[in-house]
């Protein structure tokens, strides 16, 4: 019992210490040892445009990923067809392929579009769409939709009503979860962003790298803190919203 807590405690410490150190560096003024927020000011003025670019890109990626993936997830689980299994497997493959290879492949495939942010969005969606399919697919498979739909039908509900009042509400929860994850993935995506980076097309992670190669730990720490700030709310919301039906291995 004690061993469990001890090991877990140590691993948690290892997890949380580095970002805390980064944040502590960020409050130091570059020259002196005093506490100051000047590094944050610097980051916001120099990289403010990357921040808004990343946010806008992430929003676009969320919307398009959902539009593409949600109908497909519904199809895979409730309206399967001959090759739907294969297609579902295929769309999952980017998750098990090395990020750099995919990034190179996409750029090689569309070399002429290198300056176009749509290429960047498309590359990010290679990672986000599988997650939406997986989350929605799992939910749709676990929920007793057939029974609920059948019950509604015997009570006289037509197809449209059944969809609107039974199935659609059940899909809200997983869709919100999926949107949160997509945002976090797009926000943190580095591989393709970095390779496609231009001064006008700089995502925040790529800007982050620029601060890492500068000589100021303080600025780098501040940029890192802002990056973490952008990712953590989604992460926490995900943890809070995620309901795990088979907690504890007791089965249902």
């Amino acid at each position: 019992m004690a061993w469990g807590y001890l090991t877990t405690g140590i691993v948690t410490l290892i997890s949380l210490l580095p970002p805390l150190v980064a944040v502590s560096h960020s409050f130091r003024a570059p020259e002196s040892e005093q506490w100051s927020g000047s590094s944050y000011e610097y980051v916001m003025t120099t990289y403010g445009s990357s921040l808004s670019f990343s946010l806008k890109l992430a929003l676009f990626v969320v919307i398009v990923s959902l539009v593409i993936a949600v109908p497909a997830a519904i199809a895979f689980t409730r309206f399967p067809f001959r090759f739907s299994g294969v297609i579902e497997e295929l769309i999952m493959t980017p998750l098990s392929l090395p990020g750099i290879s995919i990034a190179i492949a996409v750029i090689v495939g569309y070399n002429s579009m290198r300056g176009n942010w749509l290429l960047l969005a498309m590359a990010q969606m290679l990672y986000t769409i599988p997650y939406v399919v997986r989350i929605l697919g799992n939910s749709l498979r676990l929920l007793p939709i057939d029974e609920l739909e059948e019950a509604a039908r015997t009570l006289g509900a037509g197809r449209y009503v059944r969809y609107r009042r039974v199935i659609a509400p059940l899909m809200i929860h997983p869709t919100v979860l999926a949107a949160l994850i997509v945002f976090a993935i797009s926000w943190g995506e580095f591989n393709v962003s970095f390779l496609l980076a231009t001064p006008t097309q700089l995502t925040f992670p790529a800007a982050l790298f620029a601060t890492y190669t500068s000589n100021s730990l303080s600025v780098a720490g501040a940029a890192t803190a802002i990056f973490i700030l952008g990712a953590v709310p989604f992460f926490i919301a995900f943890q809070l919203l995620e309901r795990r039906p088979f907690e504890g291995g007791q089965g249902v």
């Binding site: 949380l16 150190v21 943890q239 291995g249």
Partner: protein
């Protein structure tokens, strides 16, 4: 199944709903990989230079080591998360999986912050113990392993946790009532039963480390690693073909590992 639609009309609806995804698949995945293959294979048989082979060897060995370490490190926390219930559990899971949000570059930077030449750990150990531990380790193989491990801990923990939570505790309870001590139960019953999950997590961790670019970008000063070779070929030397060959090599390795993992799970 709804009775007021025929099987083929359901299938047609399925195809219709999947059309955008299929289009995306064709444009975003299939075509680029096809072009990548084409580029790699232009000019006949594929040849790689010595540095590339060195990079492949280093990357594979490094990723194997990280995979083993991550299973050892994450086993207990994953077990605790999957099977114990206590207050503050959500906080624990959040804390453990927080690094999931850090991309590779961030992890590389954190490694430099912690075990670089004037990193947190050497400075602290200097003050407390008089000797500076791990100063400058970030760029050494050991430091790389530690950095990659940090990168993998949340992934391995989540993967193991989901497998552990499906573990049937009845067998373990039976063994306990028959008098088996905790250690014996662990090694002769639990670990063998969890073997497929451990294998799957091992391969997952291996694949992710192998392809991780951000960490290599920040830390691979003295050690040649494949992601960096791909990067320098592509952007520095403008040798797109070499980048393509190496990228395909990584894809091939990841795919074989994924297939091997599935085969092993099916066999056990």
């Amino acid at each position: 199944m709804s009775v007021d639609s025929t099987p083929s009309s359901r299938q047609r609806l399925g195809i219709l709903l999947t059309l955008p995804l299929m289009g995306f698949l064709a444009f975003a995945l299939i075509y680029p990989i096809y072009r990548l293959g084409g580029l790699a294979l232009t000019g006949g048989p594929v040849r790689l230079d010595r540095v590339a082979w060195l990079g492949l060897r280093n990357s594979i060995v490094l990723s194997l080591g990280v995979a083993v370490c991550s299973i050892v490190v994450c086993f207990i926390p994953a077990w605790v998360l999957a099977r114990w219930n206590f207050r503050g559990k959500l906080l624990l899971r959040t804390a453990l999986t927080l690094p999931l949000t850090f991309s590779g570059v961030v992890v590389g930077f954190l490694a430099i912050l912690m075990i670089g030449r004037v990193g947190f750990i050497p400075v602290l150990s200097e003050k407390l113990l008089g000797i500076s531990l791990l100063g400058g380790a970030a760029y050494t193989p050991l430091g790389l392993v530690m950095a990659y491990l940090y990168f993998e801990i949340p992934r391995a923990t989540l993967a193991l946790e989901s497998a552990f939570s499906e573990f049937d505790s009845d067998l373990e309870a039976a063994a306990a009532t028959l008098g088996a001590a905790a250690g014996r139960r662990m090694f002769r019953l639990i670990i063998p039963m969890l073997f497929p999950a451990l294998v799957a997590t091992f391969f997952l961790t291996f694949s992710v480390s192998l392809g991780s670019y951000g960490v290599a970008l920040m830390l691979s000063r003295r050690l040649t690693l494949v992601p960096m070779e791909i990067y320098t070929s592509f952007t520095g030397f403008l040798d797109d073909q070499r980048a393509a060959i190496l990228s395909l090599a990584l894809i091939a390795i990841s795919l074989s590992v994924s297939l091997a993992s599935r085969l092993i799970r099916r066999l056990t």
